[in-house]
């Protein structure tokens, strides 16, 4: 009996990482999902349908902007910014969600669920559900509901039900657990639109495939504007979907250095961060359906993480990125909350661009490295999302006094009416 296991399928592994550690109830659904995903991936018409949808409903191809002022300011490499902020709903999350939406239509499921941290993925999923006529439930940690109220407002306005999750640390990982609990209960008519390149196979591969549209466009664009491949590419890494999206096309281009930037939070030494691969706090584990490097204690209990950016505040990381890190193909760095606020401020002042707090992590590292390179080199920063949508969070992080006055006055107005 046991010997037949030797020939077993190591499906969904990237080197030592990944797999599908799922409860038995979901086995059949994953079989169906794998079959349908395989079919779509092998069908060029499906990819064309996806590209068409993204160019008519979202804003693809998104521009590659030459940040001339920042390039000059740092006096090193030419800095280019891939503008995922210009997607409909304001972040790269839309790519994955619309792709999975097409898949859901093919599978004939009538309901979608999703987890969300910052709320970007939740808003994108609620948008897709509205467009495709699907019922939609979003799980969001209570702590994130508090931090990201405006996104909750939009999800509800778009017709989704938002369920605050009160278990555990009440953040992204707990929302993922709760989404899985819904899925095992409603598996027959429901698809779980996982928001990043994590979770059980085939999600990492599938989400990376949909997001790879970013890098495919960026490669063409950089050749057009700069004449050759960039020296380095920078992307922030929560679960890793925007990073995998821009990196994938460039992995075979060995001269291009790929840099993932994790949340350094209050500083790696403080323990209040979400740095799984940079630094030495991460260790191998299996949770939420996959094997990767987690922030956990020696018993295997997951730790609390911290970041100013809710979208990076997560204990795990894509098994694909962990493999690329282990192979030395992707380098990992971290940026602290304070560095992030400074980079965001500079980017607004110099370029009139407002990156999301998540994306600003990539800007921090790019700004550190740009001066080391020559003006004949190019670097690309993936601007995974826009920050102006998160005005409450960013104004709070800047501790802006006139914004606080405004909120206090508005609050008084509302409470007088009540």
């Amino acid at each position: 009996m046991v010997t037949s296991m030797e020939t077993k399928d190591r499906q969904g592994f990237f080197g030592n990482w990944g797999g599908a550690y799922i409860p038995e109830v979901l086995h059949q659904t994953f079989q169906e999902l794998n079959t349908e995903f395989r079919r779509c991936k092998n069908d060029p018409l499906f990819w064309q349908e996806y590209v068409d949808l993204m160019s008519t409903y979202s804003c693809r191809p998104t521009p590659l902007t030459h940040a001339e002022n920042l390039s000059q300011y740092f006096g090193g490499a030419q800095i280019y910014v891939k503008r995922e902020d210009l997607n409909h709903t304001g972040a790269h999350k839309a790519n994955n969600v619309m792709g999975q939406g097409l898949l859901v239509k093919r599978m004939g499921k009538k309901r979608v669920i999703a987890e969300t941290g910052a709320g970007q993925h939740g808003v994108a999923t609620a948008t897709m559900a509205a467009k495709f006529g699907l019922k939609c439930t979003i799980y969001m940690g209570e702590e994130d509901v508090r931090r990201q109220r405006p996104n909750v407002f939009w999800m509800e306005k778009l017709g989704a039900t938002v369920i605050p999750v009160t278990d555990g640390s009440r953040t992204l990982k707990d929302a993922i657990n709760e989404a899985f609990r819904d899925w095992v209960t409603n598996v027959d008519d429901t698809h779980y639109v996982l928001g990043t390149v994590c979770g059980p196979h085939p999600f990492p591969e599938m989400v990376a495939w949909f997001q790879s549209i970013i890098g495919l466009e960026a490669a063409e664009q950089i050749i057009r504007y700069h004449g050759r491949m960039p020296a380095r590419i920078f992307a922030c890494v929560g679960g890793g979907s925007n990073a995998m999206g821009i990196f994938k096309r460039f992995i075979p281009e060995t001269t291009v250095e790929l840099v993932g930037v994790e949340a350094g939070g209050l500083g790696i030494a403080t323990g209040a961060h979400a740095a799984r691969l940079s630094g030495t706090d991460g260790s191998p584990g299996v949770a939420q359906g996959y094997k990767t490097m987690f922030l956990q204690d020696s018993d295997g209990q997951m730790k609390e993480t911290h970041s100013v950016a809710a979208g990076l505040d997560y204990v795990g990381i894509s098994p694909i990125l962990t493999d690329l890190w282990e192979q030395g193909r992707v380098r990992f760095e971290s940026a602290t909350d304070n560095e992030v606020m400074a980079a965001l401020d500079l980017t607004m002042k110099k370029e009139g661009l407002i990156p999301a707090l998540e994306s600003s992590h990539a800007f921090v590292q790019a700004f550190k490295e740009a001066p080391q390179l020559s003006p004949a080199d190019a670097i690309i920063i993936n601007m995974s999302g826009r920050g102006d949508k998160d005005i409450f969070t960013i104004a709070h992080a800047f501790n802006d006094p006139s914004w606080q006055d405004f909120i206090i006055k508005r609050g008084l107005e509302y409470s007088q009416k009540k």
Partner: protein, 254 residues
């Protein structure tokens, strides 16, 4: 074979066996001790002891909260192992571990199973470890005579059940319905049909769990399965009425 034989021996003079569930360290090891004493005194046939995990994905609200509270109390894996040894040495019924794979992975599969064996544990339920990911775990479980308890679900097609059964030992844990632990299950014709399919797929004893709460549920399973699993219900009972309520509750189930 050992666990299966123990259960078969007990089935000789009972219509159906009872398995109960404990979350170690919740509300405390001392209460665990009192609860287990009453369970055994009132005829429980098998006890699964859950080593708490921070991400109990397959569990419902009652057990999730118990896991979290146990961890907040500072419960460690090492303490759970010591406690398990004490229980297995004290009572003449089979004790099992139930936990999520990361706990075993972190401890080291070999070290964990060796310890479990040494402490007199008979089986291990790992709801997030399907056989596809379990090659080394299954091999080591066989080496250390720990029965790997595999899970059937209502969504498992016949062919899948046969595959699962080929790796299983001790008994099969049949999840009564889709969903997580805790919510009441109704033992209706659908469940009966499902359990017939389970029976055809394996010669191992069948345990049925998820939402089995009272005497009527247990009675409804007689003839369909070999063991009823009471999980969240005793935890709820201890929360509401304290450990002394467990004995009469268990005694009233059969």
């Amino acid at each position: 074979m050992q666990l299966e034989q123990q259960l078969r021996d007990r089935l000789k003079n009972k219509d159906i066996l009872l398995m109960t569930h404990i979350v170690l360290g919740y509300p405390s090891f001392e209460i665990n001790r009192q609860v287990i004493r009453q369970m055994v005194a009132n005829g429980v046939d098998c006890i699964e002891m859950q080593i708490p995990f921070s991400e109990p994905m397959a569990d419902g609200p009652v057990i999730v909260r118990a896991n979290q509270q146990a961890l907040k109390n500072g419960t460690t894996v090492a303490e759970c192992l010591i406690f398990a040894a004490e229980m297995a040495a004290s009572y003449d019924i089979p004790f099992l571990f139930m936990t999520y794979y990361n706990i075993i992975f972190k401890y080291g599969e070999k070290a964990f199973l060796a310890k479990a064996h040494e402490h007199g544990i008979k089986g291990c339920i790992v709801p997030d470890l399907p056989p596809e990911e379990a090659a080394s775990f299954l091999q080591l479980a066989a080496d250390y005579q720990i029965a790997p308890i595999l899970i059937f679900a209502p969504t498992s097609i016949d062919e899948r059940m046969r595959v699962l059964a080929s790796y299983a030992n001790g008994f099969i844990y049949c999840v009564a319905r889709r969903g997580v632990t805790g919510t009441k299950s109704v033992i209706d014709q659908d469940v009966a049909d499902y359990l017939k399919r389970c029976r055809q797929a394996t010669a191992l004893p069948l345990a049925v769990g998820f939402g089995i709460q009272d005497r009527a549920d247990v009675a409804a399973l007689i003839g369909l399965a070999d063991m009823a699993v009471i999980g969240s219900q005793t935890i709820r009972l201890v929360d509401e009425q304290g450990p002394a309520a467990v004995g009469p509750f268990i005694a009233g189930l059969r």
